[in-house]
């Protein structure tokens, strides 16, 4: 295969592992991210690294890729010690990495992104022409079709990820590291990715897959290493382990993968939504005739692939629809009409009416990342009498209150003065959950409560949501994780293209049926769709059929 580096430079000793780490340690200030980690990755295998958020997986792989420098330890690639001082060294040694947050230049074309850093010579034209040819070859070989002349910002997330993989392959990577690759993908895209990874493995490439999803580990890996709080606690063959065992290793104790809850006792309707329509400022219809009721004492789950109107629904209910939206319909809360567009339609008024909100994106909407945990623990309710004395805020009261919440919600570290940014994802989410649940709202809006949250915290958050339900409150749960919807909800609605496609009871439905609804297949046309859903048909583009030496 063509590429930049000289293949002959890489010793290929069949017996040595592709990667071996010996005693790697790394600290960021007082936080020890990696403690004396040693492990091996056999050549030609898919090796999973699993662990909770903040367990140090990404740090370890960034060290391997030369992005961070280890404090101590040794790295061996194909049995040869390698001093990985920067990414260039790693690339030359045949290591490629697909970061969780892609390292692509948004307004560059695919081709320009591919050649960046490995251009042949000072002029671009020959490099671009060559890359175009190589890309065509790689696309055919691994089903990695992307239009080379499209700019990155025009591509779907799944296609952007393909560009990252192509980047690594173009640099002749033998060892490919993928950091949480499915976090941003739809189920169909994730499936496609796994097919690609299998193809790469068949070519003899070594793949390291970082994830916190047990299902992916079981599905695709040959071996799996488990990390917990910066340490490598186990390395096992995937065939000789079970999801339960891995989960236990990850958190260091038994976890309930299934949520235990008693049957719901729904009472009077709390929220009555009728014929809700929302068109955004560009006139795109985001919500179409959305109607539903949520009763006191029940969890109403909304499933769906993200981007089908769930965000707009949550924002509208929470009192901050996107500016310039056109909204019609009606919402009644505890029997009283809510102002949808007027001066009383803001988020503060909604909160005062007893609507709590755990937003989908805790980093941009749930928290102010640079503010301390105690400040974040009161936002939105900072006018409440208990936080104020006369004209002034009562900081002592807020801090005291935050400290107590941290105890009750087991938020670690228990330091109310630490900035939100410095907590792990799970603990950040707990700060938001604590703030909203402790106000005891009549209706709690919950968006993606466990996105990017570790298993221990997931379990905890689920428990708290059910407790709130059992206290007779109404809960609207929006999640793209079907397992979560099925485990928590008392009733399930599926949204597709701004519409509610149907309502189901969790006991009377299957993931298969919900999956069809999520893809927009209604009950009536269901028998026509036996061939299944066209997987992301609109994204698949054939490469233009031109000579490889075409214009750059």
């Amino acid at each position: 295969m063509p590429g930049m580096t000289d293949k002959a430079k890489r010793p290929e000793t069949a017996s040595s592992p592709a990667i071996e780490l010996r005693g790697i340690s790394k600290s960021f200030g007082p936080v020890q991210a990696n403690k004396n980690i040693s492990f091996k990755v056999a050549r030609g295998t898919v090796h999973g690294i699993i662990g909770e958020n903040g367990a140090g997986k990404s740090t370890l792989m960034s060290i391997l890729y030369g992005f961070y420098k280890p404090d101590s330890g040794e790295i061996l690639v194909n049995g040869q010690p390698l001093n990985v001082t920067d990414s260039l060294t790693a690339i030359r040694a045949g290591i490629g990495m697909v970061f969780q947050h892609f390292k692509l230049v948004q307004n560059f074309t695919v081709l320009e992104n591919i050649i960046l850093g490995v251009e042949d010579g000072k002029l671009l034209r020959p490099s671009l022409a060559k890359a175009r040819g190589v890309l065509k070859q790689l696309a055919a070989e691994y089903q990695l079709n992307v239009d080379p002349d499209e700019t990155i910002e025009e591509l779907s997330v799944g296609h952007q990820q393909r560009v990252e993989i192509l980047k690594a392959l173009y640099r002749q990577a033998d060892i490919l590291i993928l950091d949480e690759p499915t976090g941003v993908l739809t189920p169909a895209e994730a499936d496609h990715l796994f097919r690609i990874l299998e193809g790469l493995k068949a070519e003899g490439k070594t793949i390291i897959l970082i994830t916190h999803k047990l299902r992916e580990i079981m599905e695709i890996t040959d071996n799996v290493s488990v990390m917990r709080r910066g340490e490598m606690v186990a390395s096992v063959k995937t065939s000789e382990t079970s999801p339960e065992q891995l989960a236990e290793l990850m958190v260091g104790r038994k976890v309930l993968l299934n949520v235990k809850k008693s049957p719901a006792k729904p009472a009077q309707p709390v929220l009555e939504v009728r014929d809700l329509q929302l068109a955004d400022d560009e006139g795109v219809q985001r919500l179409r005739n959305v109607s539903f009721d949520i009763h006191a004492g029940e969890i109403f789950g909304i499933a769906g692939v993200s981007g089908n109107g769930q965000t707009q629904l949550l924002e509208l209910l929470g009192g901050y629809p996107e500016k310039g939206s056109t909204i019609t319909g009606s919402i009644r809360m505890n029997g009283q009409e809510l102002d949808l567009t007027g001066t009383r339609s803001d988020a503060a008024t909604r909160r005062a009416r007893g609507i709590g909100h755990i937003p989908e994106d805790r980093q941009s909407e749930g928290l102010i990342m640079d503010f301390a945990a105690w400040e974040n623990s009161a936002f939105g309710y900072h006018h409440a009498a208990q936080y104020n004395s006369g004209l002034f805020m009562n900081n002592n009261a807020i801090q005291q209150d935050a400290q107590e919440k941290m105890e009750r919600f087991d938020i670690r570290p228990r330091d109310p003065h630490l900035a939100a940014r410095n907590f792990s994802g799970g603990n950040q989410q707990k700060i938001v959950v604590a703030r909203e649940i402790e106000r005891n709202p009549d209706l709690l809006l919950v968006g993606q409560p466990t996105r990017g949250v570790d298993i221990g915290a997931i379990e905890f958050i689920h428990k708290r949501i059910i407790e709130l339900r059992d206290a007779g409150k109404a809960i609207l749960l929006v999640s793209v994780e079907l397992d979560e919807i099925l485990a928590l909800s008392d009733r399930i609605a599926v949204m597709f293209d701004g519409r509610i496609m149907g309502e189901r009871l969790p006991s009377e439905t299957t993931t298969g049926e919900l999956g069809l609804l999520m893809a927009g297949v209604t009950d009536t046309e269901r028998h026509d769709a036996s061939e299944g859903i066209p997987p992301e048909a609109k994204h698949v583009q054939e490469l233009p059929d031109e000579q490889a030496g075409g214009a750059g």
Partner: protein, 321 residues
């Protein structure tokens, strides 16, 4: 308005836009690499002083030019060390450079020459002379085209031609070379460059060095081409106008040529018609002279459509965490 007047105004516009164009391209390199530079003004001022001072002492404008580039590069180095190496705030570093240049040039001018901050007037050899292009005088008699060639295109200092040649050159560097690709990438997403194994620091320093050289040319032209010597604060906000022109041009070289021409033209018109008689009212000269600055305010306030700056602009590059 007759043909000769139009030629004269355009000729003057070309002279006046040259320092703006050079400074604008200087800013383009720096900002495309993700380093916002409001210190263009200061670097130009420092270059104007050092070039005029050296030209006055040696009588050689080329030595002056070298000194101008040197002075500008010294300030660029300070900007780079503050905002790249130590990840300081780029805007504040730029402001500091402007103050530093403003004070330092007057102080040194007074110390060396004792003329209240001015440098001695340059005469003849000490300035960049006007270059008469081949056949200019013969072709002058050809109607229209001959006049344009002889009176508009011919007869400028070498730095004017350099400035205009830099426009296609900059375009070519940005969009046709490896360096340009990396430069644009580092201003958009430095992490993509870093993970590709290319040094962000080195690229940004290279961009800042080019910025320093071009500001040096701009300042030297002001003092030894357009005028005959340094006067205090002689840049008179041209660095900021160049910045406005850069935003107006949306960080593109060819557009920079046109936006700086617009500013040059306004200044030329103001010079030609101090009191513009519009029939009913006479526009006062103060207003005419203020025109370029008014346009700057309008552009910076965003009345000319959305200009999207390089995405990583203004942010020092820190690896995550």
């Amino acid at each position: 308005m007759d043909f000769a007047t139009i030629i004269q105004i355009l000729d003057s516009a070309i002279r006046l836009m040259t320092p703006l164009l050079l400074a604008c391209l200087a800013g383009l390199y720096s900002e495309r690499s993700g380093v916002f530079d409001i210190g263009l003004e200061g670097k130009m001022l420092m270059a104007a002083f050092s070039s005029a001072a050296v030209a006055a002492v040696t009588g050689n404008p080329w030595l002056g030019l070298l000194a101008g580039i040197g002075g500008s590069m010294a300030l660029a180095a300070i900007h780079g060390i503050a905002s790249i190496t130590f990840r300081g705030n780029q805007l504040i570093a730029g402001v500091a450079i402007n103050f530093l240049a403003s004070g330092l040039t007057i102080l040194m001018g007074q110390r060396f020459f004792g003329l209240g901050g001015r440098t001695p007037s340059l005469t003849g050899e000490g300035r960049f002379g006007e270059i008469t292009l081949p056949l200019a005088d013969t072709l002058r008699n050809v109607p229209v085209l001959g006049r344009i060639y002889a009176d508009l295109i011919s007869g400028h200092s070498i730095l004017v031609y350099v400035a205009f040649a830099l426009v296609p050159l900059t375009w070519w560097v940005l969009f046709r070379t490896r360096f340009g690709l990396r430069l644009r990438a580092v201003g958009e997403n430095p992490a993509s460059v870093d993970t590709a194994g290319v040094s962000v620091t080195r690229l940004r320093f290279a961009a800042i060095a080019i910025c320093g050289i071009l500001c040096g040319l701009a300042g030297a032209y002001l003092a030894t081409g357009l005028s005959a010597g340094f006067v205090k604060e002689m840049t008179a906000g041209r660095g900021f106008i160049a910045l406005a022109a850069l935003i107006f041009a949306k960080w593109r070289p060819w557009a920079a040529l046109f936006s700086t021409f617009l500013f040059g033209l306004l200044e030329a018109i103001a010079n030609r018609y101090p009191d513009l008689d519009m029939g009913l009212i006479t526009v006062p000269s103060m207003f005419m002279n203020a025109l370029p600055y008014i346009l700057t305010v309008i552009i910076l306030a965003g009345f000319v459509g959305r200009a999207i700056p390089p995405r990583a602009g203004g942010e020092p590059y820190v690896k995550e965490r």
